[in-house]
Symmetry: C2
Subunit: 342 residues, 2 copies
DNA sequence: ACCTCCGGGGGCATCGATGACATAGAATTC
DNA sequence: GAATTCTATGTCATCGATGCCCCCGGAGGT
């Protein structure tokens, strides 16, 4: 009761007020087809007067395109993701897409749920950056022709692109840097080794050493967890176990931060006693004590490349997917220096 | 060409394969109405065989409910938001809602766009945490009966709730702490004062001092920007301007981190020369040097309260909005200590 | 004067799922 | 055994926007 003029506020209501048909309203609002300027003005006036907004569900239903994109990540609270999400979302908005964000919390089961929801929402494309996968569901997405972009992992196939992070080059720059400073005993704290990307970084480290003719000492490779706690423990272990390294490269910045703390706790100083290199260059890297030398990999770049890749696939320019490389770059701050006795 | 059995994969296709009507399929899948177990099994078999997922747009169109929630924030890269988003999204998923995330980048214009998109997507509710508002659009949302939850700002009205952060109490705890340690000259670095919440925190600080009979010295109140740079500059200014304070409270943790750096750069030590208290207790607060004493305000709590508030409004339990308070709690670490000469 | 063309605009089926209503049998009641 | 109730299922309008098809009337051609 008390409906006053509200009814449903749809295209029909506008048509009534403008004394035209719904078809004309649609044509006017979408600027498709020919409409006399005078008529168009009547329609626009009615639409703005009523504060009309088209119903996207009805649109999606008839057109088959939802202008929705899915973004699936493992865990938003991982400091790498916010920038990624930000630039992805920003580009999407610019192109009139909305973004459905879901996270898997590192659980395959939740990944399954995420993919199913994307399917139900009829998203126009999905960008995925998680360590866990539900291959069956992914195939289902592909089978229905939903464009996919994988970040950091996955395969390229029909309507699937792949944004790769150039770990090899990044780690290589880090190794070159400390070797150039004169270091020989160089340790590496890895990420959790069930992660593909963590294994890649470790391998890149070993390759980098070899390129300088340094033999990697297995005792100087420790597994971390990509968290500060993990870095702290791994570093503490390195310090306890015999002759400590003079430089330590870390699989990510949080690990490096943990390592800084372990060194501090042991009464040693960075970089005088031990040099530390991080990876990712998260914003806080400039604010550690001392400021952290790190390999910058712009999460924002990853996000925007993912959007571009998706956009291209949606446009149908390319049916076969592409591979994109995110560049990395060493940022030297004050956590690295010459070893004590060269 | 090459259609094979694919057709459209809708409820009708399932009905055909199971030799029933679409209504029966709908009833089976939604477990509404009575269906003979045997019939139900036929339907389920057909549905799973075809890997069928309901079209949410069609559902939303007919039911008027989209099972979508909007989440509007200023800026995802602000380290406060990820945890908030995480817990909001997590609860939403548990209740079969999807989340559309948008950010305003602190621009009112983008806020307008965000709200319009929410309206078009027919979201079932919106949670908002931004400093900028488009009051006209917000009213539009309210007028259409879209449940709203504001975090940290805004008014309570019909179908609008409000999640408040208990700044007064948090700041009060911080002040009590340093006063108990024996400090008298206590400075405060504010956030950007065009932010309502920043002004609230400053006022809480002044009130806290007064409660201890300490007169606030205007020279000891400096405006920051809620960033590390801002904190660094404000702290540097405090150090230059005559007799420095023995303790500094900061409007957020990034500000405190900047302050730590400025003190370090000046060759002074924390907490021996100056004590520092932060606000927010972001994850990294335990990893500064020294670890930061801070007032914990769980961003996750804010997110989950916002969801609960929204859920209650959607359920229609309460037409009038409610006010929720997020508690705060002082976490003492090593950046605070007794003043040099008590 | 008649036909053709075309700009402008209305009618209606359509997208997929739902639910109110209708109906055919079976089960229950008197 | 007829009347009445269920129970299980089918029919069909509906949600809002779109786009195909058709129609009307005026301009231009012969």
């Amino acid at each position: 009761m008390e409906e006053d003029g509200e009814r449903q506020l749809n295209i029909g209501e506008i048509a009534r007020r403008a004394n035209v048909s719904t078809a004309t309203v649609s044509r006017t609002l979408n600027q498709s087809g020919a409409v006399r300027p005078e008529t168009a003005r009547k329609v626009w006036r009615a639409a703005t007067a009523l504060n009309y907004y088209p119903n996207s569900h009805a649109r999606a239903l008839v057109s088959g395109r939802s202008r929705l994109l899915g973004l699936i990540v493992s865990d938003i609270t991982n400091p790498f993701f916010p920038e990624l999400i930000h630039s992805f979302e920003s580009l999407a908005t610019q192109h009139q897409y909305d973004v459905i964000l879901t996270s898997t919390d590192y659980q395959t089961l939740r990944m399954t749920g995420c993919v199913r929801r994307m399917l139900e929402r009829k998203v126009d494309g999905v960008a995925i950056m998680t360590s866990e996968m539900d291959l069956g569901l992914i195939k289902e997405l592909a089978r229905r022709g939903v464009p996919l972009v994988f970040m950091d992992v996955g395969r390229v196939g029909a309507r699937m692109s792949h944004v790769l992070i150039d770990y090899a080059n990044g780690i290589r720059q880090a190794v070159d840097h400390v070797v150039d400073l004169g270091h020989k005993r160089i340790a590496f704290i890895t990420g959790p080794l069930d992660l593909h990307s963590a294994r890649t970084r470790r391998q890149a480290f070993l390759d980098g050493l070899r390129a300088h003719g340094i033999k990697g000492d297995p005792k100087l490779i420790r597994e971390g967890t990509h968290t500060a706690e993990g870095g702290q423990q791994a570093m503490a272990a390195l310090l306890r176990a015999g002759k400590p390294p003079t430089a330590v490269a870390c699989s990510n910045d949080w690990t490096a931060i943990g390592a800084l703390h372990a060194i501090d706790a042991a009464g040693l100083r960075v970089p005088d006693d031990i040099s530390i290199v991080g990876f990712d260059d998260i914003p806080l890297a400039s604010y550690t004590n001392p400021p952290l030398t790190s390999v910058r990999m712009s999460a924002g770049d990853v996000g925007s490349m993912a959007f571009d890749a998706l956009f291209r696939l949606i446009g149908g320019d390319r049916l076969e997917g592409d591979v994109y490389q995110v560049p990395t770059k060493l940022v030297v701050r004050q956590s690295t220096g010459k070893p004590k006795r060269a």
